[in-house]
């Protein structure tokens, strides 16, 4: 077994990766040349990621790559080895010649990895050394994504590696303009946004997490909801089971779809409050539909129970969206959970009790 040091010494990204199109000889050995074009395979992988499939296995080899025909004067851009980040970066740089230094963040995007410290000073300095960057470029400047800053101390990097860190824009798409203006970012380039489109692409992952457990829970609910009522068992299972599952789906829609989409317009600042509002709206709509469609058979206590349990669950799901959002703080989330979690659990328990009791009250 070679020692870890010798692995690091000779470590170069594999040339077998499908986006590598050529090889470039440098003073520090061969460097894989990559394509800035995104293929159908890349896009398919992206869709899978957005649907919450295979999110952990989507990484590329860390190390130094060449885009175009970079030389000793070309800029060096830093990225993470999450393929989506890397694809995003290379796709905005067609026709340019740059070096891309990819850090090993275990397949996690730059911002989250910076928060965990894997996109950090230690890994950066080590990767600069192992890629022998100082032998390849004459300048001593690294362009680090701004969202990598929570993990990188620029002054420490300079002290330890001799390279000066320049923080690039938040979004890779602004890189061409940033580089062309002499590495200057406009105030807009420095701000993290959370637009409707940015929120919409996160819904797939939110739903995939819920669906993973939700199908099982929904099936169990479908059968349990029909037990204990007077009359024919199967007729009860179909009626009350459908009521239960539709209420459950309404709560998921409210918490994991409507709340992300309508985030700026839902009242309140706490996500749990926003989710509660969306949940109450859909639960009320759900209750109204059942009451009007099957007035004779619908039990008011049961509907009332779902109007508590559904919104409580929607509120909880909405609260979980804090992690995917870009403007929440840890202190804020702790404060929100402190008041919201007991209310959500309490509301759910009361609702559940009402649903159970309903079958014994006529």
């Amino acid at each position: 077994m070679p020692s870890e040091d010798s692995i690091r010494e000779t470590q170069s990204p594999s040339f077998d990766q499908c986006f590598v199109i050529d090889s470039l000889e440098t003073l520090a050995g061969s460097v894989p040349v990559i394509d800035s074009r995104i293929t159908r395979i890349d896009n398919l992988g992206k869709i899978k990621i957005r649907l919450g499939l295979n999110r952990m296995g989507y990484m590329i080899d860390p190390g130094l790559y060449a885009l175009g025909r970079p030389d000793s004067h070309s800029p060096v851009l830093l990225s993470a080895n999450y393929k989506l980040s890397f694809d995003n970066l290379r796709s905005v740089l067609p026709g340019r010649s740059v070096w891309l230094l990819v850090l090993d963040t275990k397949g996690i995007n730059v911002w989250c990895a910076a928060g965990k410290g894997t996109f950090g000073t230690t890994e950066l300095v080590a990767r600069v050394a192992s890629s022998r960057l100082a032998d390849i470029v004459d300048h001593r400047t690294l362009i680090v994504p701004q969202l990598g800053a929570p993990g990188v101390a620029a002054h420490q990097v300079q002290r330890q590696s001799g390279f000066r860190v320049i923080y690039g824009p938040v979004e890779a798409k602004d890189l061409p303009a940033f580089i062309d203006s002499g590495n200057r970012a406009t105030p807009e380039m420095r701000r993290k946004t959370f637009t409707l489109k940015e929120r919409a692409v996160l819904i797939g992952v939110e739903l995939s997490i819920v669906v993973k457990y939700g199908i099982m829970v929904g099936l169990v609910m479908f059968f349990l909801a029909g037990l204990g009522w007077a009359g024919n068992l199967w007729s009860n299972v179909v009626f009350h089971g459908t009521l239960a599952v539709s209420a459950f789906v309404a709560a998921i829609m409210a918490g994991a779809v409507l709340t992300p989409l309508l985030l700026p317009w839902l009242p309140g600042r706490a996500f749990s409050v926003k989710g509660l509002t969306a949940g109450l709206c859909l639960a009320a709509l759900h209750g109204a539909i059942w009451l009007s469609a099957a007035a004779a058979r619908t039990n008011h206590l049961e509907i009332g129970g779902w109007m508590l349990l559904g919104p409580a669950f929607a509120s909880f799901l909405a609260m979980n969206f804090t992690g995917a959002s870009t403007f929440t703080s840890l202190s804020g989330v702790k404060k929100e959970m402190h008041f919201a979690l007991p209310l959500e659990i309490g509301g759910a328990l009361i609702g559940l009790t009402m649903i159970i009791v309903a079958r014994f009250v006529t």
């Binding site: 999110r55 993290k192 870009t326 959970m337």
Partner: protein
């Protein structure tokens, strides 16, 4: 969009601040602004406690209890599933959309 009011732990020590302005470049929320020779907190409630400013302040002028504003992460720590506040289940270090 602004999250909860008056809860963020960000503090700036004006005696230590040299006005170098690196914090202005790394903040993704426009929390800080230049005020003469120094930097000032102008939008405290917008701070997400990512810690980028404190990490990059050579003069130790910024203090913030940094972390990820993620309910699943907080819940995982509460349930004792992970020691570090991160999201997702215990088998993967991170599986939810936040990281």
């Amino acid at each position: 969009m602004i999250y909860l009011r008056n809860v963020v732990s960000l503090e700036l020590d004006r005696d230590k601040c040299t006005g170098c302005g690196v914090c202005l470049k790394v903040c993704p929320q426009g929390v800080l602004a230049r005020c003469g020779d120094f930097v000032q907190i102008v939008n405290q409630d917008a701070c997400i406690e990512c810690g980028a400013c404190a990490m990059n302040c050579e003069f130790d002028a910024i203090r913030v209890r940094s972390g990820v504003g993620c309910a699943a992460a907080v819940l995982n720590v509460m349930l004792g599933r992970t020691s570090t506040p991160c999201c997702g289940s215990s088998d993967d270090s991170c599986t939810t959309s936040c990281c």
